[in-house]
Every structure is written in C-alpha cells, then in structure tokens.
C-alpha cells in the first residue's frame, strides 16, 4: 500500500474528456496519428455530439474522482447534427457558472471547440488543461470516499 506522501508525490491529474465523435474525437485521433505529444492524463469518452453531454456525466466523473473534466465539440455551425453544440453551449454556460458558484474550483471543468482537422489544437488544449488542473491539485470537492 502506498503511503499518503508517496501517492501525493506521484499524483498525475485524471481528466475525463467527453469528445464529440465527428469533430473533437476525430481531432484527437488525428493528433495520435500525427504522433503529437501531449500529457497522457485524459480518459476519453466518445459521444455522438457535445449536445449529448448531460451535466450528470460531469458530476459523476467528479464524484468518481476525476480531477478535471473536459467537454469538447464541433465549432458553432459545424455540428454534424446541426444544432447540438448550440444547445450544449447554452446548457454549459449555465452549468459552468453554477459549478463555480457552489465552490468547484474554476479550472476543474473545461469546455472547448476542436474540429477534426485541429490535431495540434487538441494537443495544445490537453496540455493547457492538464497544467491548470495540476496547479489545482487533486480534486477534493464532490469526490465520494471510496470504501477501503
């Protein structure tokens, strides 16, 4: 069993990334194909559209110990389903403010538009987000204690 200090010293952020199939996931895939380097901190969940992402997904990820969450979709106007990212934009405008308001640190939950061609952008984004979360440290709020 690792000691508390050892765990802390070796801590790497765990980020759950909800990527829309048509744009962001494809962009991430392109980054992979292009062997672009970025921190291996994300656990990707592919969704059909950023509009599919329910705030409950984000909360569940945080409750299960994710140090950060990223939701990424197509740029406005490019949504494969035409308007999914528009409704997502409205929804997350409200939700991100609510999360910050109750005390979840700014910088834990992120939203982005990344297109299928933006491999470099994706790698940059993950690097950026990882750094922000690394600065915040392991998530403590909303994290459900696991049974030993």
């Amino acid at each position: 069993m690792e000691t508390e200090e050892a765990l802390q010293a070796s801590w790497e952020p765990k980020i759950v990334a909800f990527l829309c199939n048509w744009c962001s996931y494809a962009g991430a895939d392109l980054a992979g194909v292009g062997r672009l380097q970025y921190p291996p901190t994300t656990r990707t969940i592919r969704v059909p559209c950023s509009g599919r992402v329910d705030p409950l997904f984000i909360l569940r990820a945080l409750q299960n110990g994710a140090d950060g969450v990223l939701v990424s979709g197509c740029h406005p106007g490019d949504c494969h389903y035409l308007s999914g990212n528009y409704t997502a934009r409205r929804r997350f405008a409200v939700f991100s403010r609510l999360l910050e308001y109750v005390g979840i640190e700014k910088g834990r939950v992120h939203f982005s538009w990344v297109s299928a061609a933006e491999a470099g952008r994706f790698a940059e984004l993950i690097t950026e987000v990882t750094e922000e979360i690394r600065k915040l440290g392991p998530a403590k709020r909303l994290v459900k204690k696991k049974v030993e």
Binding site: L56, Q63, F95, Y101, L125
Partner: protein, 316 residues
C-alpha cells in the same frame, strides 16, 4: 373593495353553475395557525370552504400536470407564472383551464414567525388589516405583515397574475426591487472555499425527503433522475456528495423554469437554503439569454433554443 374570500366563492359558484369546470383547486382554512391548505371542490355548495389570506403559501399549480378535465385554479402571481411554464412545456391545455387570478401582497413565512416566537408554541394567529396577531399560551404579539415575508416575496415583481380568466379584487402595485440578485452577487464575491463551505454546510442538513422536489410545480417528471436505475446517476443515501449532486442537478433542471415561488423552501423540514442555487441560475439565465421564466407562454424555454451569437466566453 370586497372581501376576496367572498369573491372567490362567488366566482367558484358561478363557474360550477355555468358548467365551465369539473374541479376547482383553491385554499381552505388549515388545521393549524398560520396555515391555509389546498382544497379540491367539485360542486358549487363546497365553494363556501374557499378562503384567501396571507397564509395561502402553497403553489397550487403543482397539482395541474396530473389532473384531467376542466380545472379552475386559484393562482397568485408566482402560481400564474408556473402555469405559463406549463403552457410553454405543453403540460396543460389552456382551454381546459380557468385561472382565478389573485393579486398578492406576499405570504407569511411561518419560519420567520416561529423564529421570532422562539420558545412558545403558536396557538392561534389572526390576520387583520394592520398586521398578524400571533398568540401562544402565555404571550401575544402583533406583527406587521411586511416583517414576516420570506425573501422570495420581498423581491417579487409579479404580484399580479400574468394570466387569468377571472381577476379577484383590484390589481396591486408592483414592487420596485432595486437589486433582486444582490445577495447572489454578494455570494459570488466570496472565495471558492467560502462558497463550498456554505454549499456543503447547507446540503449536509438535507434528509433527502424530496419535499422540495414534490412541492415544486416545475418538477413534474414522472421519471425523476433521482430514481433512475439504468444508470443510477448518484447514490440515494444522505452521503454528502450524493446529496450535493441532488441539489446541483435539481436546481439546474429548473433553469429558466423556476419562478421563485418559494414552495421548496417552505416545504423543507430542515431549512436547507435552496433558493441561493435557484436564484443564481435565474440571474444567469437573465444575463446570458435575456430570459425570465413565466412571462410569455409562446417564448420557448431558454435551454431548448439557441442564438448564433450566444455567449461563449467560457469555451476554449
């Protein structure tokens, strides 16, 4: 300026005589001081039971989604805005509804009265033109109604029903509230630690009785996310994070739909400050999308539509 109780009874009787409704939902005297209680009448003779006073705190609109047939409903300002919400969401038919509108000057907050009474049990309460007289076994106090209103009534700018078929009495002057979101802004100004401390402290009191959800008119889903088992989104127990998620999501689900009627706060048996979440969302919805709940039955709910130029400063 007649007695509103009498006027409601007359209106109710007339509706039955003219066979316009099958059921009228209103208020009758409660079994405890400071209470009126929801009342369901189906014939003219029962109209005698209907009352109107400053104890009519419940939002009766909460009964509408499950009811069939032609219904008359007593509605104050906030209740009528809930009804507008139902019309937007196609939960009721306008033709089947007769709204008996009541201009309202606020409803007594029982918790405020109890706090002021401290020790004693309140045995009787009487409302008069110049205040409420509250009696205990060995005390009596007269209080001004304005001092006994909850925050949701204090910042209310829709005291007159926004839609009605029958209006009882005269319209009242709308309040001019300088900054209804003042306390929210104050809270926003605190540090994340302070805000988390408050939020987690409040939700720690919660006993997951769901009185808030059931009292809320806009929480009408037959399959509530709380009860979902495939998947189960979060735990059902009073464990802290499960309860925190319950409140975050319930407030979010009411985004753009909550009219700040205060039913949730009044229903809560352990005094969780629910409003500080709902009011924040109300403020954001207004700022982000220039939208107010319960205004225009034809304007779609804000999270079901979009504009090309919606704010996206928060998106990387």
């Amino acid at each position: 300026m007649g007695d509103p109780s009498k006027q409601i009874r007359e209106a109710a009787r007339k509706l039955f005589e003219e066979d316009k409704v099958d059921l009228i939902i209103g208020f009758e005297d409660g079994s405890l001081p400071l209470r009126a209680t929801p009342c369901f009448i189906r014939k003219g003779e029962d109209a005698e039971r209907l009352v109107w006073n400053s104890f009519c705190e419940n939002n009766l609109a909460t009964y509408l989604p499950k009811k069939k047939g032609r219904i008359g409903i007593v509605a104050k300002g906030c209740d009528s805005r809930s009804i507008v919400g139902f019309l937007k969401e196609k939960q009721i038919d306008r033709e089947d509804l007769v709204v008996i509108g009541l201009p309202c000057e606020g409803m007594i907050d029982r918790k405020t009265v109890e706090e002021r009474m401290e020790e004693g049990e309140i045995i009787a309460a009487e409302e008069g033109p110049d205040g409420i007289v509250v009696k205990g076994t060995d005390f009596q106090e007269k209080m001004k109604k304005e001092d006994l209103l909850p925050e949701s009534c204090r910042v209310c700018t829709h005291r007159n029903p926004v839609l009605y078929d029958v209006l009882i009495g005269e319209a009242v002057e709308e309040q001019k509230v300088a900054d209804p979101f003042g306390p929210i802004r104050g809270f926003e100004g605190k540090t994340a630690e302070e805000r988390w401390a408050y939020f987690s402290g409040e939700t720690e009191k919660c006993i997951r009785c769901y009185a808030c959800r059931n009292a809320c008119p806009i929480c009408y889903c037959e399959a509530c996310y709380v009860d979902s088992s495939e998947p189960q989104w979060f735990g059902k127990s009073i464990e802290s994070t499960d309860t925190q998620i319950f409140h975050i999501v319930r407030a979010f689900h009411a985004a753009g739909r909550c009219v700040d009627c205060g039913a949730c706060i009044r229903a809560c048996p352990v005094d969780v400050d629910l409003r500080f979440l709902n009011k924040k969302i109300e403020k954001d919805i207004l700022e982000l999308f220039s939208f107010e709940a319960g205004e225009d039955p034809d304007r779609p709910p804000p999270l079901t539509t979009y504009k090309q130029d919606d704010p996206e400063g928060f998106i990387k």
